[in-house]
Amino acid sequence: MSFIAWLKGLQRKRLDDDDFDAEIQAHLAIAAAEKQADGADPRSAQLESLKDFGNVTLTTEAARRVWTPWWIDALHDQLSDVRYAIRALARNPVFALTVVGVLTLGIGLNAAVFTMLKSMALSPIAGVDGSARLAVIFGETSGGRGVALSYADYQYLRDHDRAFSGLFGTSAFKPTFGRGRGARPVWGELVTGNYFQILGVRAARGRTLLPSDEIAPGRHPVVVISDGLWRRDFGADPEIVGKTLELNNFPLTIIGVADPAFHGTTVVYDVEVYISVMMAPDLGFKFGSQQTTPSAILSDRRASVFYPQGYLRPGTTLASAASQTSVLWTELSRDRPLADAAQQLRVVPFWQTPNGAPTVLLPTLIVLTAMGLLVLTIACANIAGLVLVRAVSRRGEIALRLALGATRTRIVRLLIVENLVLAVPGSLLGVLLARRTIPILVGYVEQLAAPESVFFNVGVDSLVIGFAVLVACGSALVFGFIPALQASQVDLVSVINEDASPRGAARGRLRAALVVAQVAVSLLLLVGAGLATRSVEAARRAHPGFDASHLTAITLEVRQNAYDDSQGRIFYRRLLDAARADVGIESATLAEFTPMGFLDTPSRPIAIEGYEPRRGEDLSFMANTIGSDYFRTLRIPLMAGREFADRDDEAGTPVAMVNHTLAQRFWGGAASAIGKRVRDRFGVWRTVVGVAADVKYARIDEAPRPYLYLPFLQSYRSAMTLHTRGAAPVNVLVDQARARVAGLDPDLPIVHARPMAEAMRGAFMLFDLTAAMLFVFGVTGMALAAMGLYGLVSYIVKQSTHEIGIRMALGAPRLSVVRRFLARGLRLGGIGATIGIVAALGVGRLLGRALFGVSATDPISFTRALGLVLGVVIVATIIPAWRAARTNPLSALRHQ
């Protein structure tokens, strides 16, 4: 049935007004004719028949109503309710504005957090619809470590898998864009030819990569660039297609500009170039392979290239996809047995991608979401209190409506509509607030992540607005329904008798429950905020195993100025000599990785002489390539043996150093490790010459783990960080080091030049972010709760002015009256605090992962929160009670 037919059907379902009018005219004519036949004169016959007929308009109206669908009727009723509600609220603008304000705050915070959550879990890839439905395949070692699959494995899965409608692969990388002084690192993705097709991303100009760009290694020197790169670095050149750019000194032809909305699939990083995986070896990527030729690297099953991913076929679940891929994996392992391959394949939703930003950030975001909902709960309780107080002053009006025959349902409906009228502007303003706060939040994260360029898919879209409206209306029902139900229970007689004393213990109980709830929830929030703040303090105080003060970190990538290996060696040799010769420099060294970089650096499989690994044991550990004087410069204690020295070069015996945990695990201690031998699984045997104390290699909260050091002179890397230490202020040291680099090669770009303390910022980022957000939530929640508590308690006291008057008139001293109210307030506060503490003890467990150096039952956080909440309760009770007790007993008695 077509749309037009449906429209016609709709049209027929209306009263034909002209036809109906004609029918009535016919009726009147027949009736008049009959009367005339009975002997009446034409004029009076006409009048008579019209009189007999009755009200023509009403009849037409009734006939019309027959054809109106029932919901239009209902809507009509609702609209009049809405009109009435707006008028009623306009009479009390302070109430309306307060409620809208409180709601805006509550909804705004939640919408902001929801937007972050959305950017991680619900819609993680900007510019791709339904990106949350992507599923990712990765290998898992017996130790539970996620590993990327080789290109050969990917090809086999892509050609044989039937669970996915298509599988693509992508691997984030960070090549140098440009050459010489203006060169800079950018984020890129090495992708398969079907990447853009499966994601459904179009090119704004030129074309995207296609399956025909994935035929043979080294044969597709083309690149798709992002809209951002096109605008920033090419001035939005309309003739961009066909131009050339250089990545890692390798020229590539630009074939297209991606859709402006698309920022790559590497969540959080702003990806700017997309290259066929076939070109990876030419750009210097070996993926851990020992092979040298591009085609050998891409067919090496030991090379970890990427995680295959794609959309599941309709009707396929993750579990069935996992079992189908396992079958393929077994076949693959039988065909080409490989000792150290991943033990099994796992299929997970996109947000669980190993080492992906969502995986890392989600636990934090879930904590934040929970906290946001707590703030909203307080906001709701707050508004419920206001609605309740207002309902009392409207008892007269409600009684009148009841007396005139309105049903209770009708009145409850009216009151709920009133709340919805408040909820809609509240939610819209909340979304606006979120729109304002998200850039602040993102700016904060950008600042923490600098100089990496980050991108969050945090646009406020229909999903966010829908969420806000849903939450607002949900809370309107919650905060409006119970008070409305109570308000509709007005006792007609007492109202008519102008008995103004609050009726029924029920309403008092509801108010008491609101006080208790607000105390409990705000305590929970404050404990959370306190714990988070204390973990940040603890994390900042914690010793990472090295001394970051007066230490610089100058990161270079000599390939950015086209140095080959031997030129690079010479450059770093001269740089180190120059830095050490500088005035005031205590020591200087080189390192491939700086510690406390937040993300784990790649692990490499190693073998240990005389140690037979258990079946499936994962002997892959993180490693660093370092220069001489490394441990002296970073002030990491040596446990045994010696540091690397200049004699540990290509001509010398291959040597290595290990950390204490590794020595302990395989040789039972630092001293016995000296002289033992280890090797890269396929490299030469290296003699252990020294054992260093453990360091926090990636994050402050990591567990001790084995770590391996290789000498720079025996294991060259083109990208290294120069560390210098001196007594001068660290910024002076940074400038000094920067000058040394410029002195050796003015054209070599400096990737980073910063104090070590700044380079470590990433490791604290998550703590800082969580703490900052929790602090905002805690303060907002507490402010809301304080406002609500004060309002409720002082209202209870005000309602008791009469009682106070009687007590005072009977000679009770002012203090005893105040004490009496204080006791009542504290009792409610006490109940709320107890509930809050119990809840906080339970919730603390969930916070566990985000906490550091402070237990989830930290007494200081609990005491502080308790003191603050009870303080607010006391102030909120004493002030109104004192004021009431100061009034003249007579006027208190008279005042109603």
Partner: protein, 123 residues
């Protein structure tokens, strides 16, 4: 009587239902225009049931909407234009249903009234 979800008031429903039944019954004898339907009901009830135009015409619309009657403009015997309503097969079935329900209702009420009367008939 049935309680339609769109019309929550059961009382009007009863009235509507009865009027609908009377109209359908009247149309059983053949197509009629609105005025004549009113007159027929009035005459057959010996002037007891006076159907007002304000109820009659909305009721006719209701029946037309349900598909129980169809309407067509035609000439009366006195050569006046009028809209004639005719019972559809579906309307006939509805009439039978209404009739049997009505009979049930009447006999049920009758039984109740007789039972209530029996112990109290002393005089």
């Amino acid at each position: 009587m049935t309680l339609h979800s769109s019309r929550p008031d059961a009382r009007t429903d009863l009235l509507h239902g009865t009027l609908d039944m009377l109209i359908l019954r009247t149309l059983q004898w053949g197509p009629q225009h609105g005025y004549a339907i009113g007159q027929t009901i009035r005459a057959q009830s010996s002037d007891v049931l006076q159907v007002e135009a304000g109820s009659l015409y909305p009721a006719l619309q209701r029946l037309a909407k349900k598909g129980w009657v169809t309407a067509k403009w035609a000439q009366t015997e006195a050569n006046q234009r009028a809209k004639f309503y005719r019972l559809t097969p579906e309307g006939k079935k509805q009439l039978l249903r209404e009739e049997s329900r009505w009979n049930e209702l009447v006999s049920a009420i009758g039984r109740v009234m007789k039972a209530a009367l029996a112990p109290g008939t002393e005089e």
